[in-house]
Symmetry: C2
Subunit: 476 residues, 2 copies
């Protein structure tokens, strides 16, 4: 890896992706030959291109190879994957998104898969276990010792959103009654220390956590000082059953780099590292965004059309049902519309501003909920405030549209109905914009889930009902 300067590096990665893309495109006609036999027709130009592709890939960090693969369409992706560096295959598999990972694993045979994952830490292997063929996992586990197999099973036994699923087992631990000098000598015996080691865990003879010795303190401590006098005893620690999103929040809040994971007897069983937590934070925010828009899950950008249809159909169907309800609301007022056709033209304005304003409210609340709980008292306060905002906006924008409608249709009544309907629909949007996510949360559901679709449903049907209802009452 040659990262001379980050600026160059970012530009270079874009350039590399484009370059890899072009090379892969040119080699695509020989896809089956390259991916199956790793050979090419005797053609100097083609072979030079293949060598160049391999050359670029060799210079990239596994995380960059992963980024390249994410940004390639399926066939090019497999072609590039097949010529990528075999010894880094495992690292790349760990970095790519779930959907891309599946497509890569599908393209590999048993032998290649075993080679890619056989040197992996047991926690990483567990991450891949559910997408790997069973015989590959069995083959790799065969060569592991008892302890590693136990770690693998432990990691497997937790749900994806639990701390146990993301912890690793690369623990360096010491006793409290030794001197710092002894610790330094002990560390020197390691071939390498685990990534992100910013603290040594201090345990008793039963592996029960006593505290942590930050490396920052170890380095400046008097060598003769006992660990017990240097270590921190108040430790942010986690249980494997803890929610991983809450752990990530704790990392963010307390600026942690690593933290111990302990079992119910406070026995040290693993650790969390900030790089995993950063991924969790990124994924949480993205999931909220996707969920609000009614996308079921992370979708491969270049997924086949049919996969995308399946990922999106649920919320489209929900939307269709709610749109049908709105349509029936209008249907109920067909005779009013027949008498004043202007109503048909004005009603989407009432529905639209309600939807927009409701989306603003619900986004605010969902975002706030991602960072902290909202208590009932607070929900009431928020509701009051949002209703206030709705009232001001209703009076303001309602009046603007009221005057415009009055001038446009030369009918003061229509203008007044517009003001009233817009204000009422904004109030409805504020009410449901607070109540929908708060209720979802109380029911233990993700408050972001389809919230945008739901609030729009309410403000559409509600807006049509309010506007057409008022018009029927006062204008006919």
């Amino acid at each position: 890896m040659e990262l001379q300067n980050h600026n160059d590096d970012v530009a270079r990665l874009d350039y590399d992706i484009e370059h890899i893309h072009q090379l892969a495109n040119r080699l695509l006609p020989f896809y089956s030959q390259i991916t199956q036999d790793n050979t090419l027709p005797e053609n100097p130009l083609l072979n030079a291109q293949l060598q160049m592709l391999i050359g670029i890939l060799h210079e990239l960090h596994p995380a960059d190879v992963a980024a390249v693969l994410e940004n390639l369409p399926p066939k090019e992706r497999v072609l590039v994957w097949k010529v990528a560096i075999p010894e880094e295959d495992g690292d790349v598999l760990l970095e790519v998104s779930d959907s891309v990972r599946e497509s890569l694993i599908e393209s590999m045979n048993t032998e290649e898969l075993v080679a890619a994952v056989e040197d992996m830490d047991s926690d990483d292997l567990a991450d891949l276990a559910e997408v790997l063929p069973e015989n590959v996992v069995a083959e790799v586990l065969k060569d592991r010792d008892e302890e590693e197999r136990a770690e693998f099973q432990a990691a497997l036994s937790y749900a994806d959103d639990q701390v146990g699923a993301v912890m690793d087992f690369e623990i360096v631990s010491i006793r409290a009654d030794v001197s710092c000098e002894v610790v330094l000598r002990y560390l020197r015996r390691f071939d390498s220390l685990p990534n992100h080691t910013d603290k040594i865990f201090v345990v008793d003879e039963h592996d029960v956590l006593q505290g942590v010795l930050p490396i920052r303190k170890l380095l400046i401590a008097d060598p003769d000082e006992e660990v017990a006098n240097v270590m921190a005893r108040d430790v942010v620690k986690f249980r494997p059953e803890d929610d991983v999103a809450e752990a990530a929040q704790a990392f963010e809040r307390y600026d942690l780099v690593t933290a111990p994971v302990v079992d119910e007897n406070k026995k040290l069983i693993g650790r969390l590292t900030v790089d995993e937590m950063v991924d969790v934070i990124r994924e949480e925010s993205e999931t909220d965004m996707l969920n609000m828009a009614g996308l079921n899950e992370e979708e491969d950008l270049f997924a086949p059309v049919w996969d995308s249809v399946k990922n999106r159909w649920v919320w489209l169907a929900v939307n269709l049902v709610t749109a049908f309800v709105a349509s029936r609301v209008i249907g109920a007022f067909e005779s009013s519309i027949a008498q004043i056709v202007a109503l048909a033209a004005l009603m989407p304005i009432v529905a639209g501003i309600g939807g927009n304003s409701g989306n603003q409210t619900i986004t605010m609340i969902v975002r706030a909920m991602a960072n902290a709980q909202i208590s009932t008292t607070q929900a009431m306060r928020l509701l009051k405030k949002e209703l206030g905002v709705a009232l001001v906006n209703g009076a303001l924008w309602g009046s603007v549209m009221g005057v415009i409608s009055w001038l446009l249709y030369g009918n003061l009544g229509i203008g007044l109905v517009m003001v009233a309907a817009m204000t009422l629909n904004l109030l409805l949007a504020a009410l449901l914009g607070v109540l929908i996510p708060v209720t979802m949360d109380k029911l233990g559901r993700d408050p972001a889930l389809g919230s945008s679709v739901l609030i729009t449903a309410v403000t559409d049907s509600g807006g049509f009902l309010i506007f057409l209802g008022l018009a029927t009452l006062f204008l006919l």
Copy 2:
């Protein structure tokens, strides 16, 4: 700080917030007395409550005090702030969001502000400089030495989204030609090492960066080994002008804890730490989410109604204009609607499914763009794929709604127009769902900005035009 177990801790924080909220509420009648003179009427119960409030606050980590303040309404917030621990005031100010920070600073007098920020690092002081009164900044800078004032000015000279604005100056650097033993002895002379120190920067006599010495390597290295033989020379480094979001992506991609910042001559001038980058990642995702919904910026959850109105009015106004355009589109077809009133009831279905589907597409693309650039070739591919998805969904859901409309109104023509209009509007949604963010990006604008409002505008007006146009052509 007493963090016995994270699980308890999270539950306790929720409990504390609720408890603080209740206490603050009860003390609220004496708001002016407490906030101005720090006194209370002679009432044992009230005084006990105040002591309890102070006691809880004293046990909390500054980041937790910040979380408590974020979750309190304005008046309670100031009351709690006034009784919070003065020596931690500065840390809390750095942790809270911009809007809350402003409200806290407003409640403090010059003396209190100086006390809160006088011990701050110069980069942190620069972060607060734009919201602090000038005389406070001047007062604090008076006691700083030349170097610190230069650091303060340097930090101030960069925009919020530049690396220079988030870097700090807590650098530990060494020369390459000394032994590891010497480095360890040198480190031992420090009173404390900077937070997150995972590597020592290696520089030459002109402070030009030569490499980095990871602490992990230093700890296991032979003490007699020269730093030059242990250090890493290929270093991910940044320039102060670099985009902070790209730096955060590099931290995520390469699993960094700290990284050096160098000037145009590769002279070491500062460092970035992962805790700042985690905040950047969180903020970036949140900004995308808020921008998509048409919220201008981070909004204090309990902001006064008027502040919220100001934060949201721009996109509501945009929405109103686009809704008005959609309304005029319908207005142009008033005679068609007068003849077939069913059109008024069906048209929102066409517009609605287009909006929903367009939002799904645009969310996908905005999310992908947050993680990497999308090249023109890729944009074309994405467009083709999204059009394919639209075609499938149009045929599928269009047929469903077509059949329902046919049965409902006993008119096959209406059913066929529904199928055609829904399919065409879904295609339009796919087209603009890709083109809007890609164009925004090409123009150097944030692709998320108001994207949800814009796509809905297109699918509303477009949907009405397509549906009513087709109906007028074929049904009248």
